[in-house]
């Protein structure tokens, strides 16, 4: 059994390790390691398209994760105050946001936005006083919005679980001592749920930064890092991709480790 488990761990990490190793390969071949070199990183970093895609990804991931952290936390707190039936509706919708395949979310958002833009743009053009009416189109906004759906559901789920584990007595004690609700929230509740909000933010960032399929549909002319990597892979596997892949891995690895550290006080390790 030990041997089998060891084998599974080797299986999980070998492919990743190979990509990292060969990103430092002096040669082009995937089957022989000729010598150590950082040339592919130099090539990647001086690639303006790649850097543009990286910048787009960081903007999108940061914005959608921040929106998700704020609105998701608000929703988690607000849902506590709702009646059972309304809460069940929210639970169902958030579950749907997580369960519906990304490819369907991407398509549906694309279809809806194109229709909505097609309706709004002529109206905007008609009522706009200046010569150059703004034209709504796919881009940063649509990627952030579509990622925001999944990540908001994710944050709500995480924060709600934390609130459920929170002691009621301490909140009641605070209000018995005549603290205003807002004071109780700021001094008692917020400090306790803060780690889960931060963890939610980091996981949301990771999701958005790594997502390919949703962005593929709604990105318009903007390219995110996964879209760039996907397009490069289709043009042919090169060692430069190994270098980019290693950098992507490093970013998500750092974020997930911090997120797990923040959530570690929970007694059971979770997925």
């Amino acid at each position: 059994m030990r041997a089998l488990v060891t084998f599974v761990y080797v299986f999980l990490y070998t492919p990743i390790a190979l990509v990292v190793l060969f990103s430092f390969n002096a040669g082009r071949n995937a089957s022989e390691f000729i010598g150590f070199s950082a040339q592919w990183y130099g090539k990647a970093l001086s690639n303006t398209f790649l850097m543009e895609a990286l910048r787009n990804s960081l903007i999108v991931a940061f914005t959608s994760a921040a929106l998700a952290a704020i609105f998701g936390t608000m929703a988690a707190i607000g849902m506590e105050r709702l009646g059972a039936r309304t809460r069940a509706v929210f639970d169902g919708l958030f579950a749907a946001a997580i369960v519906v395949p990304g490819v369907v979310i991407g398509i549906a958002t694309l279809v809806a936005l194109v229709e909505v833009f097609g309706f709004i743009n002529p109206v905007l053009a008609a009522i706009w006083p200046g010569d150059q009416p703004p034209r709504l189109s796919l881009g940063y906004g649509s990627i952030i919005a579509a990622h925001g759906l999944f990540t908001m559901a994710l944050v709500t789920m995480i924060v709600k679980a934390r609130i459920a584990g929170l002691g009621r007595d301490i909140v009641e004690a605070s209000s018995d001592l005549y603290a205003a609700p807002l004071t109780t929230f700021r001094q008692i509740v917020l400090p306790q749920i803060m780690p889960s909000i931060l963890a939610g933010f980091l996981l949301a960032f990771t999701f958005s930064f790594d997502d390919f399929i949703i962005a593929f549909f709604v990105a318009g002319s903007n390219t995110t890092l996964p879209i760039y990597v996907f397009a490069s892979i289709r043009r042919g596997v090169t060692p430069e991709i190994n270098a980019i892949a290693t950098m992507v891995l490093a970013v998500s690895l750092a974020l997930i480790l911090i997120a797990r550290f923040l959530m570690r006080e929970k007694k059971k390790p979770t997925t």
């Binding site: 492919p15 990509v19 759906l149 390790p269």
Partner: protein, 288 residues
């Protein structure tokens, strides 16, 4: 509580859930209504959509039967393969591993799941590709071995990508298992194997069901793994959707396929919940 205080409390609640409600409506409910409307429409002369009410798109689903067959065959097989590999690992982590090492070992399972699936799938493309293992095989005399773009490669990618998601729920249900039951079983003279089949396995079934449901549902919408490792030869519904929306631009037909896919996902979910209900003791598994 006075009336104004009640009104105020209500207003605060509404304000708290308002942004998320807006998001759920505009970016989940509305888009979903849109694809349902499209699915009953017609294709315009230059692609796009033409309003209509017809079942033509759904009647035509057979044109993409191969994608449905591949998905509906490979998703359950993939989930089953994940389960076979995942169960011993989850068992080891929950029952055999020492508590000090457990946290590290569990982290090592979780971390890959949260790193880019694109990169992890690419890694296999790199390994199975012409300059990877087949190139090494040439040294020992096996020429022209093709590993990439086969169903086997897709299955391998599936197990690799979704193994952590299968291990975790099983681990959680095994970890909650009361050890005294295992001791009691042994004290009563049961063979370890009959303890496993009589006690451990039945009590971990909720975790097994959760794992199968999660992995199957995610696989039904998979695009990257068949695209990169199946190379257009082994394609899923997700690949058909990308083709219909971004290449052939047949949005009404694509919408009909998307609606059907969601229906399949819902059926799988309901069946899984029903089974979980029956084995009772359902436990929720956090995703993080």
């Amino acid at each position: 509580m006075t009336l104004t205080a009640q009104v105020k409390k209500r207003l605060v609640t509404i304000a708290l859930v308002a942004p998320a409600s807006l998001w759920l409506f505009v970016f989940l409910v509305l888009p979903f209504i849109a694809i349902i409307v499209f699915a009953f429409g017609e294709r315009g002369p230059v692609g796009g959509y033409q309003p209509a009410f017809t079942f033509e798109q759904f009647a035509n689903l057979g044109a993409r039967a191969a994608a449905f067959v591949n998905t509906l065959v490979l998703a359950p097989i993939g989930a089953a393969a994940c389960l076979l590999v995942a169960y011993p690992v989850a068992y080891y982590l929950a029952i055999k591993a020492s508590p000090q090492r457990r946290l590290l070992l569990v982290s090592l399972v979780v971390v890959p799941f949260w790193t880019s699936l694109l990169v992890r799938t690419y890694a296999w493309m790199y390994i199975l590709g012409a300059r990877g293992i087949p190139h090494l095989l040439e040294y020992i005399g096996f020429d022209n071995v093709r590993l990439l773009n086969t169903p086997g490669a897709v299955l391998l990618g599936i197990v690799y990508g979704y193994l952590p998601l299968m291990i975790m729920p099983i681990y959680v249900s095994l970890e909650k298992l009361d050890r005294r039951l295992l001791e009691a079983s042994a004290d009563l003279g049961a063979h370890p194997i009959s303890t496993f089949f009589g006690v451990t396995l039945p009590l971990s079934l909720p975790g097994v069901m959760t794992g199968i449901a999660l992995v199957t549902i995610l696989l039904l919408g998979e695009y990257l793994i068949p695209q990169l490792l199946g190379g257009g030869k082994v394609f899923f519904i997700g690949n058909a959707l990308v083709d219909l929306f971004l290449q052939s631009r047949n949005w009404p037909f694509g919408s009909a396929i998307a609606v059907t896919l969601v229906a399949v996902v819902v059926v799988v979910l309901l069946v899984a919940m029903r089974i979980a209900w029956r084995i009772a003791g359902t436990r929720q598994v956090d995703l993080v």
